[in-house]
Assembly symmetry: C2
Homo-oligomer: 418 residues x 2
């Protein structure tokens, strides 16, 4: 890996490194890869005498405030290794947002345990927390090295080619859409419409991955793809579904949970449904639109609403993703040992035809403040993913999907009866 | 395989077998294994000179009525072989119920193409169709050999130890519940409840498979399991969820889509929700109950509603299931070549500690008329699956799930601040 690829200038090697404990936390929505980053951090940290203990925070930064630590150095090495293939966040997670009211307490805890190195694995919010803690140390004159390790199935962090966790979730989405589409095709005579709802409130990266189920065949499902980067119109949606059914005898829709109209209204706001007890029914966009297709178009429709399964189904994980998640964990420690702090490790894709990815660095501040949506070059005029997106995403899934075959279907000529 | 295991007395070998075409159809909901049965049928049929062509019906028996046949003998052998790992029904499916009005037409088509052998792959309804066609041949004096090949993720056919398709769907359910449970545990501080909805309108076999996610640990999720074989009470459900959250800090629920109250009311009937446009919202039991947990218990709840993914996700398939599906396909042809007709091939588990399964035969008539629910010995007083069910189901999934590890979590003693 070249120095320039790291995205920053590492400090010159220090004669003597700061001695102290390393604290690790996992935040936000878990993924199948977030434990791989944890293992990378632990494995690398075990190689430095200056790191006098590796503690894990329970439930992200909440565990810091509550002083709920576990001693990761005491774990069986086979347990740690096994976490690379165990989904979800082994330390537990939270979405606690650190406020200035928390600063005294967290500093007190860090001092008491001589925490000198801190790694937070997470998305934007976690990077913001990491940034605050880095500043807190500087302001208080308490030497603390902080490093962010990226993780999000949303793939919406800036200054990194992609985010650990995304490739595996994208692989799940592609497999889910491909398999459920085949089911829809087989039964299209009775139920021609299928709406598959996909995670991503603001960014359509995960929904766009549904296009990988096409495997290069434009006529293959999903037939329609709706990402939040384009305004959603119920009228246009219904017209699209009707037309697709007329042309192809079926319509498989990949729908982002975050689609909204021009004014920014989500479906939860659009639908004011209540049941007999006065409870609001919140099934999500796919439930609502599926019913609408039934009622307005007279076409039988089903929906597929996998929830956290999208980010947790290990059997769908991308080996490329798991390996990169492990690598960014290791690199976070290596950079801290070089005296670097206040950065997030990034993934840097080498130019060229093959896929090769190394790591780099970005300022926590810059990462925390921004969100990366699908760029225009990845969406065509209909809002469907372009060939450029397919080229971008395919290697992240660990390559192509396992092959299926399809009957050529040689028709038998009809015969007159006797 | 012993003769007695076949469940019938094969006719003595015929000096000369009937010559004619073999017609194959797939019916009902597709599975990951139904194409394996098709391949088994094709592979076996290729070995008999009397079978003068292998035709596939498009969309089940509808293809018979419409004379929509494809010539499977012309397909590339690699395409056929690849179907063993391709989910859904390659020939298309339908749920058309044959009526006496159809009889003349179907007989006309069979005569025109000299169809003498017929295999239908499907569940109860398909076995009923097969039975009618067998009778039709007898009544009309048209020699037609008919064999049923079982397929259903519901596992509700009688006279067979289990049904091809079930093991793979059960494996999906176990993996889904295990993975999404780990996600729930990690985020239980903010969202402690997860309701996972599982297929099966009448029979709880697939929902019961969620218990395999426990891997023998009683305290592991799923915490609550509701099958249709036991009456469902919303009040008891809410009390169960509340108590589980108090005791375990989280509650993962495996919920059959078919749960109903003492009077037999499903949720679709219980909920009369309409939206602003007057459309009924049908999200299913999990959507409804998830909202109820939020509103009535003040506990944040999510739901997981995979739809046909449960029966189509090839990456979750059980190799045992795929192999058995292939075997019953082959055996259907072999038995027809022995002169047997009007039967369904069954799976017969050998007694003893290991798992070994051969095939047998059952009368189409008996299979078509009945439905096998979970027997009492497989459900305890709470309606949760027993150890006997676990022993029954485990080998069908292709054995244990891939291992995960869990931190021992050695607590770090709290220290006084400075």
């Amino acid at each position: 890996m070249s120095e320039s690829a790291r995205g920053g200038n590492p400090a010159p090697p220090r004669r003597e490194r700061l001695r102290g404990r390393l604290l690790v936390g996992q935040s936000g929505g878990p993924t199948v890869a977030i434990n791989s980053s944890l293992v990378g951090i632990i494995h690398e940290a075990l190689g430095y005498a200056e790191i006098e203990g590796i503690y894990g925070m329970r439930s992200g930064i909440l565990g810091g405030l509550r002083e709920e630590f576990v001693d990761l150095g005491k774990e069986n090495p086979a347990t740690i290794e096994g976490l690379r293939y165990t989904p979800s966040a082994a330390l537990g997670s939270s979405r606690h947002k650190l406020t200035p009211n928390d600063y005294d307490r967290i500093l007190q805890v860090f001092r008491a345990h001589n925490v000198r190195y801190l790694c937070l694995i997470g998305g934007n919010d976690s990077m913001d927390t990491a940034r605050r803690l880095e500043e807190l140390g500087s302001t208080a004159g308490y030497e603390l090295h902080v490093m962010g390790v990226p993780k999000t199935v949303d793939n919406d962090l800036v200054h990194t080619d992609h985010c650990p966790g995304y490739g595996s979730a994208a692989r799940f989405v592609a497999l889910m859409v491909r398999d459920t589409s085949l089911d829809t095709i087989a039964g299209a005579l009775s139920t021609p419409v299928k709406i598959v709802e996909i995670m991503g409130r603001q960014a359509g990266w995960l929904t766009a991955a549904a296009a990988l189920a096409k495997e290069g065949q434009e006529e293959s499902p999903p037939d329609l793809i709706y990402v939040p980067e384009r305004p959603f119109s119920i009228e246009r949606f219904l017209a699209d579904v009707r037309q697709t059914c007329q042309e192809r005898g079926r319509c498989v829709v990949a729908l982002s949970e975050g689609v909204h109209d021009e004014a920014g209204n989500f479906f939860a706001a659009m639908s004011s449904a209540t049941d007999a007890f006065g409870h609001r029914q919140l099934g999500g966009a796919s439930v609502y639109l599926s019913q609408l297709v039934n009622d307005e178009l007279g076409l039988k429709s089903r929906f597929e609403k996998s929830d956290t399964l999208q980010r947790s189904m290990m059997v769908c994980s991308s080996p490329v993703d798991l390996n990169e998640a492990y690598m960014v964990g290791r690199m976070a420690i290596r950079h801290m040992m070089e005296g670097i702090s206040g950065k997030m490790v990034t993934l840097v894709r080498a130019p060229g035809p093959g896929y090769y990815c190394s790591s780099g660095l970005a300022d926590l501040q810059q990462v925390a403040a921004a969100e990366r949506l699908l760029p225009d070059e990845y969406l065509d005029e209909r809002g469907h993913p372009t060939a450029a997106f397919i080229a971008y995403a395919t290697p992240l899934l660990g390559g192509l999907l396992p092959p299926y075959t399809q009957l050529a279907g040689y028709p038998v000529p009809r015969l007159p009866g006797d």
